[in-house]
Symmetry: C2
Subunit: 326 residues, 2 copies
């Protein structure tokens, strides 16, 4: 990874560590410090810094503002984990498991307010309304995406276009806002701000498709989670949606039977579904769709009115992420 990106991540982590989230009652503030300390890639604030550096050099000045998107992201994780009954987050107990659901609901609520506080305290007054309007829209869309995702779990069939729209809302628009936010803080070129947003959305859809792929095709030694977890849980990923769409005859019956199976050996199910995916060339199809979105993101990047050497930092970072786990 590029040296300046490593330095950005160190600065982001240090700013998060020094953040005074609050004190009493401790049941409210300890979970916030806990989830914020679990790490992660710090992708969203990093994206704000990366778009800012396209236009300006004084990166340190926007680190406090960038933390807002990380707080917001962790608020969504804390609440999503309750809704999804998830026991673990980044290999550690989730907040509702370590404490309880009321604590996770309320700490999450406070985090959402803290995200606004962080945004408001660190945005220039003359751009505050614009920033908040865009942030509000993004925040609502993320919630819409989560609800649509939950709805999908109750549905027999999901269409490809609906799935792409769901991941756009649930995951991609926040990457879009994070990049756009850095751009708004740096300059006034509205065409570039819109391109930054589009780049984030396109890359975000690409990264989610990559996550869907990795769940099935990752190297178990390098992968943080159990390979095949989505298959075991019948999670409606791009791969399953595509397989449902394309499977015919015996494959369709086999896939359907595995989706309905109650008692099964995990490994057997993963291998069986995977071999259906292979016969249907699901990996290739997903890679094609993923690359289509990455291509769009790279085109957005090229179209920006910024120095090539600065754009290359973002290009290299995306390529690093794309190649890291494959």
């Amino acid at each position: 990874m590029n040296q300046s990106i490593k330095e950005y991540i160190v600065s982001i982590n240090s700013a998060i560590e020094q953040e005074d989230f609050g004190d009493k009652p401790q049941e409210l503030y300890e979970p916030i410090r806990y989830i914020m300390s679990l790490g992660g890639k710090r992708m969203r604030p990093l994206l704000s810094l990366l778009s800012y550096q396209l236009y300006k050099d004084n990166i340190k000045e926007v680190i406090p503002a960038s933390i807002a998107v990380e707080i917001f992201h962790n608020f969504t994780l804390m609440h999503d984990d309750i809704m999804d009954n998830a026991p673990l987050r980044r290999g550690q107990q989730t907040v509702h498991e370590k404490w309880n659901s009321p604590v996770a609901i309320l700490s999450g609520d406070v985090m959402l307010v803290k995200a606004y506080q962080q945004l408001i305290a660190n945005s220039p007054t003359e751009k505050l309304t614009e920033i908040l309007e865009k942030f509000n829209r993004c925040a609502i869309e993320v919630c819409e995406g989560q609800q649509i995702d939950m709805n999908f779990e109750e549905q027999e069939q999901v269409q490809e276009a609906d799935y792409i729209e769901m991941i756009r809302l649930k995951t991609a628009v926040l990457l879009g806002f994070s990049l756009e936010f850095g751009g708004i803080l740096a300059m006034d070129n509205e065409a570039d701000q819109a391109l930054l947003y589009q780049m984030g959305v396109n890359a975000g859809i690409g990264f989610q498709l990559m996550d869907d792929l990795l769940d099935v095709y990752a190297d178990q030694d390098k992968f943080g989670k159990q390979v095949g977890g989505d298959i075991i849980a019948n999670k409606k990923t791009y791969l399953l949606i595509k397989a449902n769409e394309l499977a015919q005859g015996e494959n369709s019956i086999k896939l359907h039977d595995w989706l309905k199976a109650q008692d099964f050996d995990n490994e057997e199910k993963v291998n069986a579904v995977k071999s259906i995916y292979d016969e249907l060339h699901i990996k290739t199809l997903t890679e094609a769709k993923m690359n289509e979105y990455f291509e769009k993101a790279f085109t957005n990047l090229e179209d920006l009115d910024a120095p090539s050497e600065k754009k290359n930092i973002i290009k290299d970072f995306f390529n690093y992420l794309i190649n890291r786990e494959q």
Copy 2:
């Protein structure tokens, strides 16, 4: 009730009815429309209008802004009801009962963002930062109050001062903000803005003490809920905290036994605890404390630099609320 107040409430209700909260996915937006349509006194937006009319006449203009505090209030109700496992809200099913907890968590999250949207879209740009900073502080304090209230239920003893601080946070600061908000929208007199906030906080503490009293001493025919509900649930109200503090000898043992009792007849418990309250003059003590806060609120009102006939509208409204259910 004063004719202009009735008109304000009609205008508030009509603005809420016309509000376009959103459409799809319907699981996210129907619960918002549902809880917002359950009614209630619309006390918080009404307070914003009442403080605004002290200084300006064009009340209609601030109705959209005032709706923000009602949306925020209903967000807290939706989430509190999950945490408190409450089956009913204003006599109707709570959102997590009618739908489910994930829906109530996520719809609540969207409502919090919608409260910000409503505030941002309807506040003058030059006052936006100030308004948002005060709103953020208030929102966080309301969450702190809810957490402290939940903590109290796990504690053997609660001190009077801690209880007053809890209800200040959980209930009173939002009434304070609602009044201050109307003041900020109307004028620039910071001393008056601070007095409006104080008036709301003092009145809010008074109203909560009144609620505690009514739960035990209300006329069942007029009271919306079951009289004695707090006693049955061992809810740590001002009355119980005061009784715990003052009970000695046999009264102390009896009270303690009733608090520990597992199987009991509801009516018998309510009557027994009530007779301990009576022996300890808890009603008189609570009324004295409540009136102390109402007096403070009325002094705050008197100190405002506004026309007496306008102040009298607020005075009459508070007196109407104070005398209505007693």
